[in-house]
Amino acid sequence: MRKSKGRQKIEMVKMPNDSNLQVTFSKRRSGLFKKASELCTLCGAEIGIIVFSPGKKVFSFGHPCVETIIDRFLTRNPPQNSGTLQLIEAHRNASVREHNVQLTQLTSQLEAERKRGEALNRMRKAGQAEHWWEAPIEGLGLQQLEQLKGSLEELKKNVAKQADRLLIQNSNPPQFFGAGNSNHGVIPFDTTIPYDTKNVGFSGHAMPHAYNHGYGRGFF
């Protein structure tokens, strides 16, 4: 479903709506500076742009910098080419190159994360259609809420238990796990333990019987 109208052709006159005008100024100024920056990088141009905002503030962009461009223009002087200046410029250009590389990287990372976000949204949507407990809670009845509450509380306990197990596992060297130890179910690399690995969840553990109560294939 389309959320907005998309790109529309607009008339080249002063915008009638003041708040739209503010937003437009902000966005277009930003885009303008971006285009100027690209022109400098791509073609080695030297540019100065001055823009007064609707609120009478002034924004300016300049490469190498606003002041030198203005002075160069006003005094009609050709740019100086001293060795020092060239060195400074070389440094500056190297720095700009690095920034551009970094920016390009970030932009593509951001793009990738956005795509991932969309994929996750699709997963969630698909899940909601299949399982009532995945729907937003505003849409659930009291019965369902109580049930979901119970299951989540149970899950929370299990998460805590698993976290404890990991702590123990990580702090004890493997040789401490002997045959008599009730934790031996957690060793991933000990293949001699005959528990059913196909059974997801906790029912396969060599845990005291009480822990198996109510687990089965889920927490309900």
């Binding site: 002063k14 990088t41 001055i50 962009f61 700009v96 951001l110 849409g139 509450k149 976290a163 294939r217």
Partner: protein, 253 residues
């Protein structure tokens, strides 16, 4: 007009660079002009290129000297407050992109852990989760529980506000209503009801509903206000433990 992605670096090919310069310069000047017109503001642009000793200049009304004069007449601090060069401008853009990236990563992490949470609810093992995963999952469960407690509270309040006769079922408002408890009539969820009793809205298919007829029966038994059930306290009409298994399979096949 080609829409290839252009690498953000100096174009080494001379003719390509010159062609790009011509096009982009024209586009840039157009954009400045549009900005001025649309927003009714004053602006100017000065462009020096390796191809021309004279700069290309554009200014809104009254010419470039006017705009430059306005600029220079401002106090130095006002001039420099929003002044940028390539470096500072790129740094700003990098900072913004970083911020957006972090936010997106955080959102994605939450969405991802939500999926993990739902999968764990249906029995998927917690074994593959790292310590960090478990921490995040625990946090997420807490957030969800908080919302659920709040919502249950809201619904119970509504229940208490209702008339005494309807009080015990008023809370279960969401979803379709149901007049009877027999299996056949349970399928007609859209039927209007002539008494207060309602059942919660289950968006389940017919099979699941058939399997839960005993559950629906239970709904008609005299109950206290809060009809929630934890695993052990639930009053099963058949009263034996074997139906725990039935129940768990029914809800989470």
């Amino acid at each position: 007009m080609t829409r290839k992605k252009v690498k953000l670096a100096y174009i080494t090919n001379d003719s390509a660079r010159k062609a790009t310069f011509k096009k982009r310069k024209k586009g840039l000047l157009k954009k400045v002009s549009e900005l001025s017109t649309l927003c009714g503001i004053k602006s100017c642009a000065i462009i020096y290129s390796p191809y021309d000793s004279q700069p290309e200049v554009w200014a809104s009304e009254h010419g470039i000297q006017h705009v430059l004069g306005l600029f220079k007449n401002m106090p130095e601090m006002e001039q420099t407050k929003k002044m940028v060069n390539q470096e500072s401008f790129l740094r700003q853009r990098i900072a913004k992109a970083n911020e957006q990236l972090k936010k997106q990563q955080k959102d994605n992490r939450e969405k991802e852990m939500t999926e993990v949470m739902f999968q764990s609810l249906t029995g998927k093992s917690l074994h593959n989760l790292t310590m960090m995963d478990l921490n995040d999952l625990g946090w997420l469960i807490d957030q969800n529980l908080k919302n659920i407690y709040r919502r249950i509270g809201q619904l119970n309040k509504v229940a208490q506000k209702g008339e005494p006769a309807a009080a015990k079922t008023e809370g279960m408002v969401v979803g379709s209503t149901n007049t009877s408890t027999t299996p056949s009539e349970m399928n007609n969820v859209q039927q209007p009801h002539d008494h207060h009793q309602r059942t919660p809205g289950f968006e389940m298919n017919l099979d699941t509903m058939q399997r839960q007829q005993w559950f629906m029966d239970m709904m008609n038994l005299p109950q206290e206000n809060n009809m929630g059930f934890g695993g052990d306290e639930m009053m099963l009409p058949f009263g034996d433990n074997s139906h725990n298994a039935l129940w768990s399979n029914a809800f989470f096949p």
